[in-house]
Symmetry: C2
Subunit: 333 residues, 2 copies
DNA sequence: CTACAGCATTGGAGCGCTCCAACCAATAGA
DNA sequence: TCTATTGGTTGGAGCGCTCCAATGCTGTAG
């Protein structure tokens, strides 16, 4: 249970501690002979460098901290994939911490991440107040994903929710739909842009928007549909605020004896793995998640290397994924 | 961008560095007067302790490393919740790293985690070879979740897959089913115990087991069903190796004009959030995921504190969650 | 044969912290 | 009055490493 140090390796290889340090950092100014001797000794002892001591001594860090607001959401997993890809190829490690959607726990996660003095921080859809982010931004570079900010030292990466909603409306209109309702995400992140995009697109087509208050869950989607049916105001197409909501909507429609897409078309948002299941096969809007992560990591590393001081605001284009929940209205297919 | 050190706080509070250290660690042998003075100075400077320097100096760590083999799987998120809960209440922080299901990447993640010299490591369903785990176990305490091990210095937490399969079979038999097929998980983790449990339970009921080779995906589940239909060997009930497989099976059954559960009953395994969707509403086997995490953290902390040296092998009981995909055979309901 | 590069190698200082032995009143006991 | 004892406080050493200035060593030019 006691790990060997550089000193041990140096002793065994018959060189100085400083030389071992050079070898470990891949310095070119070490003779081939010594290098192999050191590596051999390290191997035999099972030595691996102590990242914290290194970071302490060098006053630099090769660690990027990532705060994931909700580990349960697969959305973030793909963003992390993108971050990891870029970080790794540039010689950085990442450490993840999770906030569990609670501001208090998230704050603690932030504190914990900060105590490792990472080179920078990427926050995925954080729920902590902007002031907490601003304070952290005084200590190290920070990039926000799926959350906007006006702080000039903070970079952001977001999807263009307005455009995504527009894509969905355009698709439905091109199929011949005229009555299209939007099940709104309420307070949820990104719900605002999606709603705005929907309204704008409808008006651009000369159609009347119909916004129905709802939430990011399948139960809420089902509830919204039932109320529309009760009202007698059920349209021929539905644009849900996200995939879960859409799946709930579909299930309520089927419960009411309506067929999807023959009687009613449904479009989701996010292209979660759920949407891709053949049993669901949901037409939805895809966000370039891995690209979010890549751009976030790239932006962060630029700051870390002092290559840039102006803030970057990425707004990525979502795309439409057509599956089997959309068709022309009235079973015309 | 430059963080204050203990020295700065000491200077400002007019005390020694050692005294600040005592205050930061909440020592009782500090006069109230000095304590408040130090805390005030720290607050004004925005000081927070440097975790790495602390850990280096104290030769101890309050960090638990967690390696998640696949961040995309919500299963692990709940395990992490359990770990986090216990760790936090015992004054430990956790840092997470992901292996992305690839042994090479996982190895790197392990290396990275190790370089922080955490107090211990929890590996969630790791895919690295046992030797790599054994080697790491020489350096610090390790707990494995959803993977077994024979190494005596490593603790494990698993679900009792045999019992879970038995629960499912018992449920179907009690509904009146006699022909029950198992869509097998093949090489997948935990597929073995589930298959064994199924076979044992069938034989205990005097029924003939029918194991169909399949995989942990919805496409594989659908494929298996199609081949059963083509064979003319479709039973009245299906026990899938996991929820995804079950959903694929359901969709293939419906495509073939069969109703679930009226014509065929289907049981999944894992109780993922997918199963709970009303559109799916899958009868399935639930594993106490948060409990996995809690027990893993507890076991690890015992080792960390040298309270135990004998290995612990937790085998948790799964439970049956009845939803709407199971009913008596032949539409007798 | 000396001088001077150029290169590989090394000891020492120091990163921010903890820990320990020593220290310093102030009070208690003899 | 002198010595113990106690509670609060302090300087110094050292954790494992990096960085820097200095050192030794070749080989080549003068």
């Amino acid at each position: 249970m006691v790990r060997p140090t550089m000193e041990d390796v140096a002793l065994r290889a018959g060189v100085s501690r400083a030389l071992v340090s050079l070898v470990m950092r891949g310095s070119p100014k070490v003779s081939e002979m010594r290098r192999t001797a050191v590596l051999k000794a390290a191997e035999e002892l099972g030595y691996s460098p102590h990242a914290m001591a290194r970071s302490l001594a060098s006053r630099t860090s090769t660690v990027l901290g990532v705060m994931v607001s909700d580990l349960h959401n697969a959305f973030f997993a793909e963003v992390v994939d993108g971050i990891d890809e870029v970080a790794r190829e540039q010689g950085f490690d990442i450490i993840i911490n999770t906030g569990g959607r609670s501001p208090a726990r998230e704050r603690r996660a932030l504190e914990s991440l900060l105590s490792f003095r990472p080179a920078g921080l990427i926050l995925l859809s954080p729920v902590v107040p902007a002031t907490a982010i601003g304070k952290a931004a005084e200590q190290l570079p920070i990039v926000l994903v799926a959350r906007s900010s006006r702080v000039s030292t903070v970079d952001t990466v977001n999807d263009d929710g307005e455009q995504g909603a527009r894509l969905a409306v355009d698709h439905l209109v091109s199929l011949g739909h005229k009555r299209i309702a939007h099940l709104d995400g309420g307070e949820g992140t990104q719900a605002g842009p999606r709603r705005r995009g929907y309204v704008t697109a409808m008006e651009a087509h000369g159609l009347a928007p119909q916004v129905v208050s709802s939430e990011y869950t399948d139960a809420a989607g089902a509830r919204a549909i039932r109320s529309l049916i009760a009202d007698g105001s059920l349209p021929t197409a539905i644009l849900s605020c996200n995939d879960f909501n859409a799946v709930g909507a579909i299930s309520a429609l089927e419960d009411a004896g309506l067929r999807v897409p023959a009687d009613v078309s449904v479009v989701g948002y996010d292209n979660t793995s759920l949407a891709a299941l053949r049993h669901v096969s949901l037409t939805t809007i895809d966000q370039p998640r891995a690209e979010f992560g890549r751009l976030a990591a790239l932006a962060l590393l630029q700051r870390v290397r002092d290559e840039r001081t102006d803030p970057v605001r990425h707004l990525l284009n979502p795309s439409l994924v057509v599956r089997n929940t959309t068709a022309p209205p009235g079973g015309l297919r």
